[in-house]
Symmetry: C2
Subunit: 295 residues, 2 copies
Amino acid sequence: MTLLDGKQTSLDIQAEIAEKVEQLTAKGFKRPHLAAILVGNDGASQTYVGSKVKACERVGFESTLITLDGETTEEQLLAEVEKLNTNDEIDGFIVQLPLPKHIDDQKVIEAVNPLKDVDGFHPSNVGKMALNLPCFLPATPYGILQLLERYKVETSGKHCVVIGRSHIVGSPMSILMGRNAYPGNCTVTLTHSRTKDLPALTREADILVVALGRAEFVTADMVKEGAVVIDVGITRVPDETKKRGYRIAGDVLFDEVAAKSSFITPVPGGVGPMTIASLIMNTLLAAEGKSALNG
Amino acid sequence: MTLLDGKQTSLDIQAEIAEKVEQLTAKGFKRPHLAAILVGNDGASQTYVGSKVKACERVGFESTLITLDGETTEEQLLAEVEKLNTNDEIDGFIVQLPLPKHIDDQKVIEAVNPLKDVDGFHPSNVGKMALNLPCFLPATPYGILQLLERYKVETSGKHCVVIGRSHIVGSPMSILMGRNAYPGNCTVTLTHSRTKDLPALTREADILVVALGRAEFVTADMVKEGAVVIDVGITRVPDETKKRGYRIAGDVLFDEVAAKSSFITPVPGGVGPMTIASLIMNTLLAAEGKSALNG
């Protein structure tokens, strides 16, 4: 069994990008510049945005954090988005979600210039992903593809079963793994809450992507010997033996499933840390004017 | 076994829309107006465009056919597209594909205003389809959904297996059948040329969508008793017993598969005639400013 080490892989990617940024600036190019908009003072959102901004700085990007108070109107936010859309200094930007309830998330997502949409949330980028055209891939799926690629996991002709059809993980993963590309070219089965006899399906999976958000849902009896297991879940489970009173669990019962797997992502330290690498890769691509790679 | 009669269903839909148009015009609203651009003089394309324009006229739409000669430059075509984008008289329009080789199809597709893109080819519409947002659905998938709906075929929790991953049929069908909607909520398996042991997978299908373009590929031994079979194929097979020297065949060996099916589309007269109904439904939605329904 090989551990798909997302923490190390993310650091490797960041180191490679840091080197590339130095080469670019040595040639006189400007540093890639990511901006982030944070509305309100939700603690978790502040933490997420903070870590994104710090990661940008570590690789030598410029970064701009725009914080707007929780009373900001939709109109004011859309005006900020438009400023970033038209500011040539900014290569890519994100609007941290969720937004306060009086603002329509989808309207804001669609206001972002698709060429600066490094979160890959704009319908135009989602559509290009489905059409196998250059685009910005969403962070979690892009991170998973990177892991598969860097560990040289074979995918062509394999049966990939995805559990969960969220718009940010399960649904795009099902699209990406079925494309004529590497990683990809899988026969793909997308399963969800309406699926009948899920274990019979997961036992057919050569590659199993688990993204339903239920702690330790996938047990060894649901997994084929030698499967590649990608665990996207991350849940706090009460645990009195821990100082903080909880432990972090994935959607996969790790120890027993790992024993049957050829490759598996740990939680934490698997898929999670890759999302930062994805954002940085997308921002570099935006700065290079490539809009983005894919396929 | 029930035949999913696309010919009759398409006529029913057109009759319903014709009535709706009369109601709209009686209230003083203008008639929906579809425009089509045809570049060059490919015989098949002329036939397709002609039948679309005629169908529009039958339901009381206005229609405009713009024919450009085969020497038209990409720039000139893009200028025509922009005229239609900004012409308030035109509710929706299509650019007949394929275009001459010196013109980049994708560039033209992306130039169409997504709110007038009644073919549903713009990446923004494809992305909205994947995100289960209102959009224009592409003609063949939309037509299939209509058939399933009008024949009240149960889909929730069923296993839908799709053969073929083309951007215009297989790939969007796999997305649509997995959405949280009706028709939808299927467990979906997308198969293609790299898939191993296809018959084992198709035998699991409660709903089988066949869109690979190989005549009579699906035989009875590949189909589960009671399956719903949607045949998207249409191929000319040499047949000396026919006056014209060929017969039209689907991707399914009809007689033996029909004997095992609960519902099946014939070829011709199944999925094919539904595409015209889809285009007309999308144009009506565009005229109503609904951009489009879905989900």
